[in-house]
């Protein structure tokens, strides 16, 4: 397992440098927490005016939000390559990556990882436990395994979309504001898709399938049987999107034009 050992060496190196800047790390975790708290408050404010949202209760929506935080944390830790264009294409750092004998995307993931984001997994699980305790949910012995698959599926959907967007830079290195927009669209996946109109629902399911990061897999744990079909598609969508993204990335690398000196 060569990739595995490279990965752990990078992780240990990352920890070493991060621990020398303890204040930075603490600030980052704090700002993540604050951001998550604001989102929670938003949900509470909305439910201050209504009890149900298209048949979903407040606790269910909080549960979905909690679930969403887990794959999002994994995405944020490893696949958050929003500055790929700027850093690797415009500045030409891709040259360096391409002179090393490891897959280029894997190297970039190692260089850009932000393990602090993984803290979000804990927050997410805490939020789910809080919401779940109000909801009278039953857990089976295999649910943790299903949870793992759902989380990985969701994280890979997210990762796939962002890798696809990053790959565009190989063809055109002009700056776009597509990345920040994507973060906003990504947030739509945190709410039940049946509150949106049909077009948006279709987009969130099949084009930019952010619904597979939040609402669909959560529906399984909430026992909403009408959504089970979508819920079990989560790992499949993750694999398909991620695979397609890698495929496009590999084509993109052959189109890389390099930066002038």
């Amino acid at each position: 397992m060569k990739h595995g050992s490279i990965f752990f060496l990078y992780v240990s190196q990352y920890m070493k440098t991060r621990l020398t800047y303890r204040v930075d790390m603490l600030m980052e975790i704090m700002s993540d927490l604050l951001f998550q708290a604001v989102n929670l408050i938003f949900i509470l404010v909305v439910f201050g005016h209504t009890n149900m949202l298209s048949g979903w209760s407040k606790d269910e929506i909080i549960f979905i939000y909690g679930f969403f935080l887990v794959p999002f944390a994994i995405f944020g830790a490893f696949f958050n390559i929003w500055d790929f264009n700027e850093r690797y294409i415009v500045k030409g750092e891709m040259d360096r990556i391409l002179t090393r004998p490891v897959h280029s995307l894997f190297q970039i993931i190692l260089e850009r990882m932000e393990l602090e984001s993984l803290f979000g997994v804990l927050t997410g699980i805490a939020v789910m436990i809080y919401a779940g305790s109000h909801l009278d949910l039953s857990l089976s012995w295999y649910d943790p395994i299903v949870f793992l698959f759902m989380v990985l599926g969701g994280a890979f959907v997210y990762a796939g979309i962002f890798i696809l967007l990053a790959s565009i830079s190989f063809w055109s290195d002009s700056r776009t504001s597509i990345m920040p927009m994507m973060y906003n669209i990504g947030n739509y996946g945190r709410y039940p898709v049946d509150i949106y109109n049909k077009v948006i629902r279709f987009v969130l399911t099949w084009i930019l399938p952010f619904a597979f990061v939040g609402v669909y897999p959560s529906a399984y744990f909430l026992g909403r049987e009408e959504w089970y079909g979508y819920a079990f598609l989560t790992p499949v969508m993750g694999a398909v999107f991620f695979g397609f993204a890698i495929f496009m990335w590999n084509i993109g690398v052959t189109k890389y034009r390099g930066a002038g000196n």
Partner: protein, 337 residues
């Protein structure tokens, strides 16, 4: 001898769109674009044998970087054949890059925030170098480059010269057969340059490492390379021995006279009558340079006439430097091939 680099009519075209002017033009650009194809490298061919040190020179934009990037597998060629170390650099990239070392003077291979030896450790893992091979080889490299005391410092705290030596060590960590050096001595002081040159000679002798060197500093090339490949506008305009380049183009010497009094060009002109020589004005006051052919009787005749006619405070005789030769070649174009 084994061919390390074999390039056959290699070409790289870049397609770029040229934008129209004005707001109206910008709107039209949205719908139809004007594409312009620029050929950065135009069908070049050359081979490099094992153990050679080749200077790869050319002005900015001559196609040096682009061709090196194709040789190292970074860019995909538009057409042509590249075989380096018996592999196709772009198609078998991950396997191929194990057999080469790359130093880009302008770009660091090392991690900015961590100690040099930690960077080496990561690279050792990335290249999968076994411990015993690493220890034996790297101890030698570290000693020759004299970087032992720097190993526990983070890269950002190193001076440029220190960093460059570490970069070189990092590029040689997996003991590659072929080394690409792009401006390795840019901005370095003379002592560091000498150290790097000696080191390169040493590894070339010890491991028969083939070296392809790009630089604007021609003294590097004079010190290291027997052969130069010169590019201009994407084509090879000279490929051969450096010594030959000098003898073909640099036939001639410059005699620099420092006159004791004010002199003018008209005054001096008659002195060179019937001789293969001409005057140019020096960059200091009362300094004139006679450019003469490299023949003993002409040189002594010029000196004799000038000294007889004027008061001279200083005389220097220069050989024309490689830099001037190359400047001349670019200015005049390659007339005789």
């Amino acid at each position: 001898m084994e061919k390390v680099i074999d390039v056959q009519s290699l070409r790289k075209d870049f397609k770029s769109h040229s934008s129209r002017s004005g707001l109206k033009g910008a709107f039209r650009d949205l719908f139809t674009r004007n594409y312009k194809v620029i050929s950065a490298v135009k069908d070049i061919s050359f081979t490099v044998n094992e153990g050679e040190m080749v200077g790869y020179i050319g002005e900015n934009g001559a196609g040096k970087s682009t061709s090196i990037k194709m040789l190292t597998g970074i860019l995909t060629p538009t057409s042509g054949i590249v075989r380096v170390n018996g592999m196709d650099p772009h198609k078998e990239r991950e396997k191929f890059v194990r057999s080469i070392g790359v130093v880009f003077g302008q770009r660091s291979q090392l991690w900015w925030d961590i100690a040099v030896q930690e960077s080496f450790r990561l690279l050792k893992k990335v290249y999968n170098v076994p411990d015993d091979v690493y220890n034996e080889h790297m101890n030698h490299v570290i000693e020759s480059l004299d970087i032992g005391p720097l190993l526990d410092k983070p890269v950002r705290k190193l001076s440029l010269g220190q960093r460059m030596r570490c970069e070189l060590a990092a590029a040689l960590l997996h003991n590659p057969k072929l080394l690409f050096l792009d401006e390795p001595t840019i901005g370095l002081d003379v002592l560091v340059k000498l150290k790097i040159r000696n080191f390169l000679k040493e590894i070339n002798e010890k491991y028969k490492t083939t070296i392809l060197l790009t630089t604007h500093d021609l003294t590097d090339i004079e010190a290291l390379c027997d052969r130069v490949v010169m590019l201009d506008e994407g084509q090879i305009i000279y490929d051969g021995e450096l010594a030959k380049l000098r003898s073909n183009w640099g036939e001639g010497k410059q005699i620099e006279f420092q006159f004791g009094e004010q002199v003018s060009g008209e005054q001096l002109q008659p002195l060179l009558k019937e001789l293969e020589a001409e005057w140019t004005k020096g960059d200091r006051e009362n300094v004139w340079i006679a450019n003469v052919v490299n023949e003993e009787h002409v040189i002594s005749e010029v000196i004799g006439r000038v000294v007889a006619a004027n008061r001279i405070t200083d005389i220097k005789i220069h050989e024309i430097s490689t830099e001037e030769i190359i400047r001349n070649i670019y200015e005049e174009g390659m007339r005789n091939g």
